[in-house]
Symmetry: C2
Subunit: 475 residues, 2 copies
């Protein structure tokens, strides 16, 4: 009995290893594809391509706010680089907001204990889209609150004609535990909605504590959202330190600020999404998007947000050309314009493609930094999850958790996601991102070349895997 | 036999515990003093006095550079507070440098890849004492080196008429291992001596990478030292990020900067050391100094450097008054003026006291921040070390290592140390200090109230112990 019972087991091993029997389930990826994925990974982990493109975008071009000369230069640069690789490049014309930062100063002109003839300087930066103060500024008393609820609780008299300061602290402990995105979500409401809330109550300007974890008196900018029919008041972000200073002084006694912000909203500018296709060999009309956004806030040089996203998207094409691999579906690199203050690029692309949404097989956007990847965010049907197992197996040692979430995984591809396109985003160790995001410190040195290679590998393996998937994805 | 051998042992225990036999060595501290030291420690660990004085100096008064109205206000404030406690207060008049920061901007006006009509902004701050550029700035090519040796290796032609950038990186890894002071010592030479070295070779201005660990595009100021007979050229500090940017671009091709610095050196100002005595009961003419420096750099509000040192020195007197304890020797609180850019206060005090140096029993200065104390630096004779054992026993749970070093333990008390006065400084966990030191981010929030209490305890216990020591210290 003993020997008889062993025989089938041996047979089974033989079959598993050597037999060419038909597979019981439809194949997801060809053996060739699986082997190519490993080649791509290996090449990506050695490639300097994405880093040098990130360096060029940040150091040679610089900050790339929509409408700026640098944004134009970046469009030209990316299009040229993609043409050099032999891709089919087109520019999708857009009309984008053109907001330009001006002078911006804040000085406390009256506060308890003030030495004669002195001030305290408030480190600040206008929020994107903010209206200006008069050229010589405004001078008014501060009213400091921590939250919308605290503002609501104040009588009108305490707010009218004053400058409201929202001193809502970004939760550093949450960030250090990995929940930076959640901490940001809580704090950033004051940046986007604080001006409208303060204006409704009669404030003449608003200052918002930076939505980020820096302890280096650094200021986080970002967009302010006015109400369509509400009063627009000047809005600026202040460093955590300055918010604390104003809270301390205003609690102690009457504290006044002279605030000058002279940004300008110019007429909309013409700009472009850069769209570059690496045509598919078998299903060229089906598209897998790899993307990031080309515009960036103007304080830093937009390294983590989002030159790296652009660079690793460009690198997908570079790696495939280098390895002489042609994907079965078309891989489309999109450098979106105007993610930061309008989302015109993402919106207009989805509009243009309205009749061809079904041909968008998948979309990937990298816009959450470039630190060590922990896996992949996925917005799509749960039934699709098993389709990614072989890709994840390749990426296993790079941290390839798959995290299915409801909602969007990237702002620019959001309109596609909402129309049913399976959508993906690299997901990262987020413990430091919000120390730099939207600040002057979002610069090249924040990009670790090794970690960028890891991200490049995730991006390219995922993109090529999706482009060569033998089955349609449930959607 | 057995019982006989046990008997002397029991006798010994009885003697040790209960007998009032004369001690074999001279007593260092009376039992009363030892018990009072514990009282002082307990009270210090509960006291908010130092924190609220730190807050007032930083938030209500602000930056306190020598010659400023804020420095005057700080002198008045500390003197008033000490008088309120009943101390005998005098102001020692000084003539101090009066340097005032002006406009300061840097823009790269030409570099490889530059988008038409754009610049890259260089975040910078004039070094203390720097001369000015012409009002409209200077425009010149950059030459970037990492070290004095690299500059030496260049031909004159490569330097003459140019702006030299010293891109010597502060060693963050050293700082994170606890060797921040050593990392600083290496980097800060370029701040102090870079201008002289570059001027000698014909440079027209110098930019120095910040001597600190911040990764938030933050700039470290501090004094520049010109050579007495050398040419004085404008000198500024740039953030680590901007130094890296300039190094990257200059390596790639010709890179020019427009640099404008308009600081002013005004005539010397009259200012003061604040000297407040809590008279001793037994040896009032013997003095134990507790001190910090009242002036601070102008970018931040001088919290760690050195409002906390002043505040914990003030607190020694407050605690003793609160506990109704009078020291045997006089405890003298000194708030030194002008540590940062001249050391006039420390120098003049030692000069004034030249004939009474022998009456200075000991001097303590706190000027290395206010984080968790690790112990006490001691500059004095090795034979004195055993004298501190009982004090260290009281402080044991706060980290009371004694570290005897050659040289100074504090700049202001240095002239006393050099004349043989046993000198002390609280010593700290230095892993974050140089992220903030001399930057705009040296603000109140960097002071942990609990850690400041620990420092206050070390300061007060050490001061009272020294003031009540029953023996003279070897010196």
């Amino acid at each position: 009995m003993k020997s008889l019972r062993i025989a089938p087991f041996i047979l089974l091993i033989a079959f598993g290893s050597f037999a060419q029997s038909p597979r019981p389930t439809p194949q997801l990826y060809s053996d060739k594809t699986l082997s190519e994925l490993k080649q791509i990974q290996e090449a990506a982990l050695k490639s300097d391509y994405a880093y040098s493109r990130t360096a060029y975008l940040t150091n040679n071009i610089g900050p790339r706010l929509s409408g700026s000369s640098q944004a134009d230069q970046a469009v030209k640069y990316v299009a040229d680089e993609m043409r050099k690789l032999g891709l089919e490049v087109r520019l999708q014309e857009l009309r984008v907001p053109h907001w330009v930062r001006g002078a911006e100063t804040g000085f406390l002109t009256s506060f308890p204990g003030m030495a004669p003839g002195t001030t305290q300087k408030i480190v600040l930066a206008a929020l994107g889209g903010s209206v200006a103060t008069p050229e010589n500024g405004v001078e008014a008393e501060l009213v400091v609150v921590q939250s919308f609820a605290e503002l609501d609780a104040l009588p009108n008299l305490a707010i009218e004609g004053k400058v409201v300061v929202f001193n809502y602290p970004f939760d550093r402990a949450m960030q250090e535990s990995g929940f930076g995105l959640e901490a940001y979500g809580e704090a950033v409401q004051y940046r986007s909605r604080g001006a409208a809330a303060a204006a409704r109550r009669g404030a003449i300007a608003v200052l918002v504590r930076s939505a980020g974890g820096s302890q280096n008196r650094s200021v986080h900018t970002g967009g302010v959202r006015y109400e369509a029919d509400g009063k627009k008041i000047p809005a600026a972000s202040v460093s955590a330190e300055d918010a604390e200073l104003m809270a301390y002084l205003a609690k102690m006694g009457r504290t006044k600020i002279r605030l000058t912000l002279t940004p300008k909203s110019l007429p909309d500018a013409i700009s472009y999404n850069v769209i570059a296709d690496l045509k598919g060999s078998e299903k060229p009309d089906e598209v897998v998007i790899v993307s990031g956004h080309l515009d960036s806030w103007d304080l830093g040089t937009g390294a983590l947000d989002d030159a790296t996203g652009i660079a690793v998207s460009m690198q997908v094409a570079h790696l495939l050309k280098q390895l002489k691999l042609q994907p079965k579906r078309t891989i489309r690199m999109i450098a979106y314009m105007n993610e930061e203050n309008g989302l015109v690029g993402g919106t207009e692309y989805a509009k243009e493609q309205a009749d061809d949404i079904g041909k968008h097989f998948a979309a990937i956007e990298s816009d959450l930094g470039a630190s060590h990847p922990l896996g992949i965010l996925f917005a799509g049907k749960p039934e699709a999850e098993p389709f990614f197992a072989p890709i994840r197996e390749v990426l296993r040692f790079q941290g390839a958790g798959l995290f299915r979430i409801e909602g969007d995984v990237g702002a620019d591809i959001g309109p596609l996601t909402q129309r049913g396109v399976p959508s993906f985003a690299p997901w990262f160790d987020m413990r430091t991102y919000f120390n730099y995001h939207h600040t002057a410190a979002d610069t090249l040195d924040k990009v670790d070349p090794k970690e960028l290679k890891e991200l490049g590998s995730v991006m390219a393996v995922l993109a090529y895997g999706l482009a060569n998937l033998e089955q349609p994805l449930p959607r």
